[in-house]
């Protein structure tokens, strides 16, 4: 899951990036409205955390710009403006949720999860394909009751595949939603990670869940 943090206050952006990355999200930061719009056009984000008071173009204008481009990305407004008017203005401009500063980081994470879940129209709680289970809150992955230890990137990759189970996922989709701005598309990093992941979740007796779709990408599917 790839998140864009739009925040002019460097320190706030920095702890948001750090905290979200520790939750296995890919995070990019934009420090003003112009940069934010540029990043939104260039990349495919799953969620935007948006401050309202921004230099050059303010957050509400950024939000309108995003919606005018026909993008339905969930947007969580993150601002010190806490009056009812401001909340109404923010939500009416196309925001999906509103959190006022200072906020509890745990609440921010819960709201991020809720927005991502809503986007996929998935149920709350664990993701499940065959006997493979992933808990997005605790980041625990189990197969047939046995816990599997994954690195941050492997976890993010698996979560993305599980959220799009039974659908073909291209390499471009993976690079855009699992990796951040610094990903180099010329490498075969994705294939390497998929192979690692395959090996880790393929426990002796179980069936293979990650299938290669030749020339296109991958698909996570229970083929019984």
């Amino acid at each position: 899951m790839r998140i864009l943090v739009v925040e002019d206050e460097k320190k706030v952006a920095s702890f948001l990036k750090k905290g979200l990355e520790e939750e296995y999200y890919a995070v990019d930061c934009a420090y003003d409205g112009e940069e934010a719009l540029f990043m939104v056009e260039a990349n495919d984000y799953d969620l935007i955390l948006l401050d309202i008071m921004l230099p050059k173009i303010n957050g509400l204008e950024v939000l309108k710009g995003v919606r005018q481009r026909g993008l339905a990305i969930p947007v969580l407004m993150l601002t010190a403006k806490d009056s009812v008017e401001d909340v109404v203005k923010g939500l009416d401009a196309g925001g999906d949720d509103y959190l006022t500063k200072p906020f509890a980081f745990a609440e921010l994470l819960a709201r991020v999860r809720a927005l991502l879940r809503r986007k996929e129209r998935g149920p709350a709680g664990e993701l499940r394909v065959a006997d493979l289970v992933l808990d997005p809150v605790t980041h625990m992955v189990r197969r047939g009751g046995q816990e599997i230890d994954l690195t941050a990137k492997e976890y993010a990759l698996l979560e993305y595949l599980m959220r799009h189970a039974n659908r073909v996922v291209t390499r471009t989709m993976i690079s855009e939603h699992v990796w951040d701005y610094h990903f180099d598309p010329m490498t075969n990093v994705i294939d390497v990670y998929v192979n690692h992941l395959r090996r880790k979740i393929y426990l002796d007796s179980s069936q293979q869940l990650i299938h290669t779709v030749r020339g296109v990408g991958y698909m996570l599917q229970d083929r019984g």
């Binding site: 206050e9 702890f15 905290g19 921004l54 230099p55 010190a80």
Partner: protein
């Protein structure tokens, strides 16, 4: 009933009552005067006629004058035979002698009292009813010869015309006065309504303002009458209220934003830091960053406190004689190191007598704030100059702080002294300011009866000029 308590009802009521009294008095006067003059006219006519008759009966023709002669006398005197006049001549004992033809078989009655009066030579006027129906005004005049009454002349005139006229007048007045009052009260109510309509409008708007909507204004049609002036005064008052409300609201929003940002950083960094075990270096980084934010918050709180005390008039200014150039030189010395670190050239110049009267601590803060500001917005390799000049001709001391920094756009110049106002809209706090420095500068200058002005060109730099009265 609400209506009876309204001003327009009371106004109309008073108006109608006063008009009613005036109209009634006028009507009464008119009626009485007219009646009097009409009755007097009748009396005069019959008296004249009686005198003529008396003189004609005393004429050489003697008592044997016939009615035909009387008619002739009348015609001689009045041109025509007067109609509606009845003449009756009686002998000294009251027996009726001659009568005018129009009396036919009717007698003009004569009372004993009148007879007595006539015998004494007194003329009597009286109103009698003839045939029950018509009022007749009668004059009874004795014919006196050699101081002896030899007969009586009675001349009567019908009062029908007079009474009819008076009755008609009374009728007209009885209908016209109430009708007039009715029209007047309707008109009065209409006028009062019209005049007081703006008052109702003002009341309604005041009510809406009371419920918190300060954007309301009264629409004024006539500017120069009393209500127009009231409305425009009211509008001015609301505009002032709205402005100060907006200022307070903006200030509160800004202050809460400025305080919430460091709080957000503190909370976020600590929460993220505590999520898992980290190395000592990482903890140190977090703590150092936290300390920075705590310092920033203390500065903001301190500045806010200074300003609010200044607003409440709780800060007292010392009044000392101070050499402003000496104070500026001190600040310059203190800041040279900082300027060197940022590779900015910090210059100082002074010129002439620069004595002012004021508070050394606040004036020092003023110079410090302005100079630090200059350093903040000037890039490495730039220059900040502090100049103090005495101007004896104008009796002022000028402090100029010039930088070669980023400059301030024209549209922001006016608001740059506003609390928490930041030029780029961005709360770029990297520069480390609280957003209150220039507001405090402005307050210090104003407390010293001085002026502060700013000139700026984007990309070229800014000059802040403080003008203080010179102390002789």
């Amino acid at each position: 009933m609400m209506l009876f308590k309204t001003i327009k009802f009371k106004m109309t009521l008073w108006y109608v009552v006063i008009l009613g009294i005036i109209l009634s008095c006028f009507s009464l006067f008119l009626y009485v005067t007219l009646a009097d003059s009409l009755y007097k006219g009748v009396d005069n006519k019959i008296r004249t006629m009686a005198e003529i008759v008396v003189s004609s009966t005393r004429s050489p023709l003697g008592a044997g004058t016939s009615m035909a002669d009387l008619d002739q006398v009348m015609t001689e005197h009045f041109g025509i035979r007067p109609l509606g006049r009845f003449i009756q001549i009686l002998d000294e004992s009251g027996r009726i002698g001659d009568r005018s033809t129009n009396l036919r078989d009717v007698q003009i009655p004569i009372s004993v009292q009148t007879m007595k009066a006539a015998s004494k030579g007194i003329i009597t006027f009286e109103t009698v009813q003839v045939m029950g129906k018509y009022s007749l005004r009668v004059v009874t005049m004795p014919i006196i010869e050699n101081e002896k009454m030899i007969g009586i002349v009675q001349v009567g005139s019908s009062l029908e015309g007079v009474e009819e006229a008076l009755q008609q007048l009374l009728l007209i007045l009885l209908i016209a006065v109430p009708a007039l009052l009715l029209v007047a009260s309707a008109g009065g109510l209409f006028l009062a309504n019209k005049a007081l309509k703006p008052v109702d409008a003002i009341t309604q708007i005041a009510r809406r303002i009371g419920s918190g909507d300060l954007s309301q204004r009264i629409r004024i049609k006539r500017v120069n009458d009393e209500l127009g002036r009231l409305a425009s005064t009211f509008n001015e008052m609301i505009a002032k209220l709205e402005k100060s409300f907006r200022q307070v609201k903006r200030f509160t929003a800004d202050a809460s934003h400025e305080l919430k940002t460091p709080l957000t950083i503190l909370r976020g960094e600590v929460e993220v830091g505590l999520k898992k075990k980290r190395g000592v270096k990482e903890y140190q980084q977090i703590l150092a960053s936290n300390l920075e934010e705590i310092n920033r918050m203390s500065r903001i709180v301190e500045d806010l406190l200074t300003l609010s005390r200044a607003d409440m008039g709780e800060l007292t200014m010392e009044r000392e004689e101070i050499e402003l150039s000496a104070l500026a030189r001190e600040v310059w010395r203190d800041l040279r190191l900082l300027a060197k670190k940022k590779r900015i050239q910090l210059k100082f110049m002074d010129n002439g007598f620069t004595g002012v009267e004021g508070d050394p601590l606040f004036l020092r803060q003023l110079i410090l704030n302005l100079t630090e500001n200059g350093l903040k917005y000037t890039r490495a390799g730039g220059e900040v100059a502090v100049r103090v000049k005495g101007d004896r001709d104008q009796g002022v001391v000028r402090l100029l702080v010039t930088d070669t920094g980023v400059g301030i756009p024209q549209k922001d110049l006016k608001r740059i002294f506003d609390r928490f106002y930041r030029v780029d809209g961005a709360r770029s706090r990297e520069t480390g300011g609280t957003g209150l420095g220039l507001s405090i500068c402005q307050w210090i200058v104003q407390a010293h009866e001085g002026r502060i002005a700013v000139e700026s060109k984007v990309g070229k730099g800014s000059t802040f000029t403080v003008t203080l009265p010179m102390k002789d």
